[in-house]
Amino acid sequence: MHFESGVGHIGGNLSSLDAMLIVFHEFKRDGDDFILSKGHSAGALYTTLWSIGMLEDQDLKNFHKDDTLLSGHPPAKGLTNIRFATGSLGHGLSLAAGLALGARLQGQDSHIFCLTSDGEWQEGSTWEAFMFACHHKLSNLTILVDHNGLQGFGSTKEVASMGRLVDRVSGFPCKPIVVDGHNLDELRSALLCPAVNHPKFICMETIKGSGVSFMENKMEWHYLPMNQEQYNRAIKDLELL
């Protein structure tokens, strides 16, 4: 769908797709919510929604085209399972924290999953949200960080190094878990791990462009669309997985 629409952002979609698939297929129940804070991975979210029958083949074919339901970032309306338009980084964790707090106030046992990027932790609002979630002991909130180490114009270390993100969050009343974000067993174990009196924080060590050899760990695949030859190579790589 990215190739047919001539759209980029494929690298961050591939680094986060495994996490979205396992959350939606194995953990997200009716009444739970998933907020894709890194809205530029909308393609992975749409694919995941398609995989659970919430979107049709034709919907995916119309991705990013005129008259589509599927805009380049999650839309404001038109799709169940997408409660908020995201795409401007630094909003999603606050929205997720609000949903988690609201569920508690309403006496609901729903759980909120929020997937952020790693570069997004350069946003002050993300730290506002994290502080809020920890302060209010939102144990019905799971924060997943797609820690692929690359952002739009450099690596996260080059652009605004904060050292290891898990070290920074460890100062809050929260016990971060680090997993291989492409290892389903590790992801599953982390998602099953109970969190008591604090949100669950899962730092997923991921590979930007995971599964496509010429994209892996290459910053340019944050933005670039594929040409025909690259698409053919990518498909061959994925068929070998």
Binding site: K77, A85, L95, G98, L101, Q106, S125, M131, F132
Partner: protein, 303 residues
Amino acid sequence: MRKQLCEALQRRSSNPSMVFLTGDLGFMALEGLAADLGNRFINAGVAEQNMISVAAALASLKMEVWVYSIAPFLYARPFEQIRNDITFHNLPVRLIGNGGGYGYGVMGPTHHAIEDYGILLTLPNMSVYIPAFDEDVYAIVEKAVVDAGPVYLRMGRGEPPSDYLIPPYEPWRQLVKGGGPLVVVVGPIAGSYIACLAAMPFDIRPSLWVISELPLSRNPIPDAFLKHLEKAAALCVVEEHVRQGGFGSDFVLHCAVHGIQLPRLTHLYAQAHHFSKYGSQAYLRRQSGLDIDNLLAVLGLKT
């Protein structure tokens, strides 16, 4: 108005879905509400961006959500959160900004809110309420609750003369009847004109109106105002807001589109975010020419 706000909200506090968020403000004003709401009174701390998005999320769960801060902290810092998270989803979050206009006076320009409703009215479905008198807050809170979309309540300080009988709340109200020019004012500064205008002879006395709800497209100009407009020799629009995006330009455009002829028009507005020196709200209004002396001067009524 904070006293009336607290009382009005306390009357609603038995609603189990009501939740109130504050950006660490409300000391010596909102304690009663906090006590009534318990865990539904949330001090979100000095973190306004998060507070707005949390409010949006709570509203998406069908809760009755109120958010409070000093006005510029409420709309300027978290503007994108208001835009994306609240208005793009038409969520009924009620934003309460204290200190509209130059309300924080000598506290300085960081605390002033003179571009607030202009900015917010660029967003979809936003309704703005600007009480002219303290007592208006009761009616406005109840109107805001039934408003299906986002709301901004610009709080100030009512300034009527002590013996003035405040008319029941309406979006448009005539405060002083007169046979002279028309004056239409946004918000509580209207109250500061009443005593002087009411003392003038009827035939030259300005007809003073106040508007408390925007945008104009959802609060049509009343027929009585339009009838007076046909006969008036002059019209003055007054607002404690910058010229760009203010009520004045919206009013003139509305009249032009609807073929309403305007007499000689003067627009008094907030001239600057800061001047060479600082002072009270009254001082800053004088610097902007919003005081009664300048109003009379531009209307040719100053002797």
